[in-house]
């Protein structure tokens, strides 16, 4: 069940990625519309992060090609923003929250030029959007996991891009923060940005995403939420994990399910 779109913002053609000869993504072929909140779902080890990293040029591609805004990656770097997994960096690094968020503006600044008032204002605005304005001067080693995640999202916002790729931005984040960030992402897509999020929780995925990609080494599905969230496709994605699947079936039965109300 793969829906292709006209004039896609991101087009992936026959993508294969392997680590040490063993493929972790096989023949992924999809195209994504602009202005949508897009979720990538799949079990652990399904290649979700690898897909994001391949799009960002961080892992070598074995086969196929990726086009963003109908161009190659290097032509459009300033229009793409990336939130890596929180564990990928050393949070003991001597830097303040503001320093890290300012890093988001460096791509547009270019080599040798120093960030000035304008960059600082962008960074402060972005911190306010994620509700971290009272932590501006805090050292990053003194933040909780959820706060670190917000700092990373603020840094991505400071890139002022058109396409956002986020690798598990909700790992280790509490429900209230998750809701707040999802609302922020929905505002962004409403203003024409495209946001692609690697996500674990099927419950909240059902609530917030417009478009869902299901991945398990192969591409299982890519399309509008209403079309792809079916028992059959979820079973194909998650395999024989029956316990989980019964829960999912339950959710599908009560269509108006909302985890925040329960």
């Amino acid at each position: 069940m793969i829906t292709h779109v006209e004039s896609p913002i991101l087009e992936i053609h026959d993508l294969t990625v392997s680590y040490d000869q063993s493929p972790v993504l096989w023949n992924v072929d999809l195209s994504l519309p602009a202005g949508k909140l897009i979720g990538i779902l799949g079990p652990n080890g399904a290649g979700k992060s690898t897909l994001i990293k391949a799009i960002m040029g961080l892992v070598p591609i074995t086969g196929g090609y990726i086009k963003i805004f109908d161009r190659g990656l290097n032509d459009v770097r300033s229009r793409i923003s990336y939130v890596p997994q929180r564990e990928s960096v050393d949070w003991n690094f001597p830097a303040s929250v503001l320093d890290v968020v300012m890093m988001g503006t460096y791509g547009k600044l270019g080599l040798f030029r120093r960030p000035g008032k304008k960059e600082k204002k962008i960074a402060l605005d972005c911190l306010e959007k994620v509700g971290m304005q009272s932590f501006t001067d805090r050292q990053i080693s003194e933040l909780s996991g959820g706060q670190q995640q917000r700092v990373f999202i603020a840094r991505a916002l400071a890139q002022e891009a058109d396409l956002y790729l986020m690798d598990e931005p909700f790992a280790g984040v509490d429900m209230a923060t998750e809701t707040a960030i999802f609302q922020l992402l929905q505002e962004m897509t409403a203003s024409g940005k495209t946001v692609i999020v690697v996500h674990h929780d099927i419950h909240s995925a059902m609530n917030y995403f417009d478009w869902i990609i299901m991945l398990n080494l192969h591409l299982v599905a890519s399309g509008p939420k209403a079309d792809v969230v079916t028992e059959e496709l979820l079973r194909k994605t998650y395999g024989g994990k029956l316990n989980l699947l019964t829960k999912v079936t339950d959710i599908i039965r009560q269509k108006d399910f909302n985890p925040l109300k329960n």
Binding site: S78, P94, V100, M103, R138, Q139, T179
Partner: protein
């Protein structure tokens, strides 16, 4: 720890440079050592990313191997000349005033090493001043640097070249052990006291100068090895800081008071 690795691994480069130039103080020695320094970081990186060896293991393997090759080269080729492991390892600051730079006209310009050190200071400060934001981004989150289009590989290579040049230009004077001590101890001590990058750099410089001066005068007073005394002072300063921090962990500079709870 890369500095530690480089300071030992440049030995074969020095020996080879020594043979090309025929003296310990030629430009070839510095170039040879610099190249070896870069080679060291490349090997460490390659072992880590391609051969999937852990970072500490790949550092340990690389620098001990290269250092051993250097020692073998010295023993094979240079046993007759004034270049031995002792001088490479320990150096001797007290001889610096004798090692003068004398111009062709016979005019003495003062200790030769001083000029190397001044050039080093200018290069390193200029490098940090110009590339401050690029350096902080690639050290904190290299992938993010790559993603926003920074030449992260080139910046890393430049940083490593700076470390090798610093190591090479100073260790002829002070020996590998003092170079490592002065590369590692001041920033490690400063990191106990502050978590802010600019204060960290300033405190590191201050501590370095303090350790050098205090070590020198203490050695003068007790009439002992200058390099040894400097390392000892550094060690005492570090241990003292660690001890104070373990008793009073909240004694910090450059950190903020706990903020208000999060509002959504």
């Amino acid at each position: 720890m890369t500095g530690d690795a480089i300071s030992h691994a440049v030995l074969p480069g020095i020996v080879i440079g020594f043979f090309v130039s025929g003296s310990q103080r030629g430009l070839e020695v510095i170039i040879g050592a610099g190249l070896l320094g870069i080679l060291t970081t490349l090997i460490i990186n390659w072992l880590k990313t391609k051969a999937k060896v852990q970072l500490d293991a790949s550092i340990g393997i690389t620098f001990t191997l290269l250092f051993a090759i250097g020692i073998i080269l010295i023993n094979m080729l240079a046993y007759k000349v004034d270049l031995d492991q002792e001088c490479v390892l320990y150096g001797e600051i007290a001889y610096l005033p004798i090692d003068l730079w004398i111009t062709d006209a016979g005019f003495s310009m003062g200790p030769r090493i001083t000029y190397l050190a001044i050039l080093n200071l200018v290069l390193v400060s200029g490098f940090i001043f110009l590339l401050y934001k690029e350096l902080s981004i690639t050290s904190f989150d290299e992938n993010f640097g790559i993603v926003i289009g920074l030449p992260a590989g080139a910046i890393n290579l430049a940083l490593m070249s700076m470390v090798s040049y610093t190591t090479v230009s100073s260790f002829e004077a002070v020996g590998a052990i003092l170079v490592v001590a002065l590369l590692v101890v001041p920033p490690a001590t400063a990191f106990l006291w502050t978590k802010k990058l600019t204060s960290l750099i300033k405190l590191t410089c201050g501590l370095g100068i303090f350790i050098a001066l205090a070590g020198y005068y203490l050695a003068y007073v007790v009439d002992s090895s200058i390099a040894g005394m400097m390392v000892a002072v550094g060690g005492v300063v570090f241990l003292g800081s660690a001890l104070i921090k373990s008793i009073r962990p909240n004694l910090l500079f450059g950190t903020s008071a706990p903020g208000k709870p999060l509002e959504i």
